[in-house]
């Protein structure tokens, strides 16, 4: 006999409201239905009522964790409509901020995953490390969450002492290598909760078009920083970690290895930060009629903005946002099929979902 167990929209296993109706037989999940929309804010519609400055502040609030990435993608699209190119120093600062945000996101996720595994000490360790990353972000931007760093044609703030930041990144990297990565990859607690759990096969990952660490943990080697480089990524040397197993362990490993690659990129960008201007200047901004699109590799995967503008207008005609969780979340249905009911909070968390991004 089958029965349905609802998880959410408000549940201790979920960080934000969404609902998973699980059809179970005994303790085994046979199928699931997902329900979103509990955070819907109509941001795309609101964007049509904002000018080119206000819309940046608005889109920064699509996501609390990837706020820099959203403004980077939006500004990159608007730069194509204004013909403004960010100066080299601004491109490097964008890379530094984007990688710090990836570190922040991945360490936050590791903490939440540890909590769901019942590994409270690790949760505390990860959140202490996250504070160090947020200290770095605050040192650069003055803010812990919404950084207000991007503008059309560059960035608003400089990195005045890259050597000081470099020392902080090295300390962070050392701690990651000493505690977080070894414990997550070798501890019995982590392995017993994650190995073989919530599998997304390579074929299903391709069919669903999943992105980011979820795709790379199912053997899909795609990363926009390599495939379609933006900002200064073309000048950075780094590897794209890929794991074939498709389970929670693979997603954990991909993110752990990406933390190390982000540190590698940060070291390069902070060491080679070129001198020069931060932006192209406000007085030059004028839009042409048309649609421009930009894509960026966010911590959770590809973000795409499509921006339409009419020449002479103060406001965009349309802003469409495709967030990574919007394409990753349908995969949860297939990950939980035949899983133990007790594993489902960890499985849904393993895609590092952002429900606010999805609803936007």
């Amino acid at each position: 006999m089958s029965y349905t167990i609802p998880m959410g929209p408000y549940h201790p296993g979920l960080e934000e409201p969404y609902k998973l109706d699980m059809i179970c037989e005994g303790e085994t999940v046979r199928d699931a239905k997902l329900h979103i929309g509990f955070n819907f804010r109509g941001i795309e519609h609101l964007a049509e009522t904002r000018n080119h400055v206000q819309v940046i502040a608005l889109m920064e609030r699509v996501c609390g964790i990837c706020s820099f990435i959203h403004t980077l993608t939006l500004c990159s699209a608007m730069e194509k409509l204004t013909g403004l190119t960010p100066p080299p120093r601004a491109k490097y600062i964008r890379v530094i901020m984007a990688e710090l945000e990836r570190l922040h996101s991945h360490v936050l996720w590791a903490g939440i995953a540890a909590k769901l595994m019942g590994f409270k000490t690790m949760f505390m360790t990860c959140f202490a490390l996250r504070e160090q990353v947020m200290d770095l972000l605050q040192a650069i931007s003055g803010n812990r969450v919404n950084y207000s760093m991007n503008r059309i044609g560059g960035v608003n703030r400089d990195i005045e002492d890259p050597q000081a930041l470099l020392r902080m990144v090295e300390a962070l990297e050392k701690e990651m290598l000493k505690t977080v990565i070894p414990i997550f990859t070798t501890s019995t607690t982590a392995i017993s909760r994650c190995a073989g759990v919530g599998v997304l096969t390579h074929e299903k990952a391709v069919s669903l078009g999943v992105v980011g660490p979820v795709a790379r943990a199912s053997g899909v080697a795609q990363d926009l920083r390599k495939a379609a480089p933006y900002a200064a990524y073309e000048e950075m040397e780094f590897d794209v970690p890929v794991q074939p197993a498709g389970d929670v362990t693979a997603r954990l490993l991909v993110r752990a290895l990406e933390i190390m690659e982000s540190c590698k990129i940060l070291r390069q960008a902070l060491t080679k930060l070129p001198p020069g201007e931060l932006n192209a200047g406000e007085s030059k901004i004028s839009f042409i009629t048309g649609t421009a699109t930009a894509r960026v590799e966010a911590p959770r995967g590809e973000v795409m903005y499509s921006v339409s503008w009419k020449e002479g207008s103060q406001k965009p005609a349309r802003v469409h946002v495709r967030t990574p969780t919007f394409v990753n979340m349908p995969a949860i249905r297939f990950m939980v099929q035949e899983a133990r009911l007790a594993d489902t909070p960890l499985i849904q968390a393993s895609i590092d979902p952002c429900y606010s991004c999805t609803d936007r």
Partner: protein, 135 residues
Amino acid sequence: MSLLETLPEKLGVADSWTETGGVHWLTLGPMGIRDLAKAMNAVQARFITITAIELPGEEGFRLEYHWDLDGNLLGFPFTLPGKSIDSIYDLCEAVDWIEREIHEGYAIDFIGREYDPLLLREGQRMGVNLRKEAE
């Protein structure tokens, strides 16, 4: 020649790509969305999204379908004089949620599929969230 360069010929289009705003655009002429989806599957392009744009007056809507081919962003515009277009859900599983979102936000019908509510709840009005003037 790269796959990108040969693709217009495979799609039976005489024109080549127009690269603007970060997208390789191709207008398909008589080819329908379902044939395009089959062609994209054949070249193993990755579906990204559909952007719906409401046109002024009574002109209807434009749907811009996007795929990724080896890091290149492809765009195919389809103008809808009415409020419907064929669904490609049975050909491309990844399109499910965005077809449902556009259906709810703009009241556009994707012919040949059924919908579960996505952002809306059972019984709520379609086409209110994103249309400039809700009917």
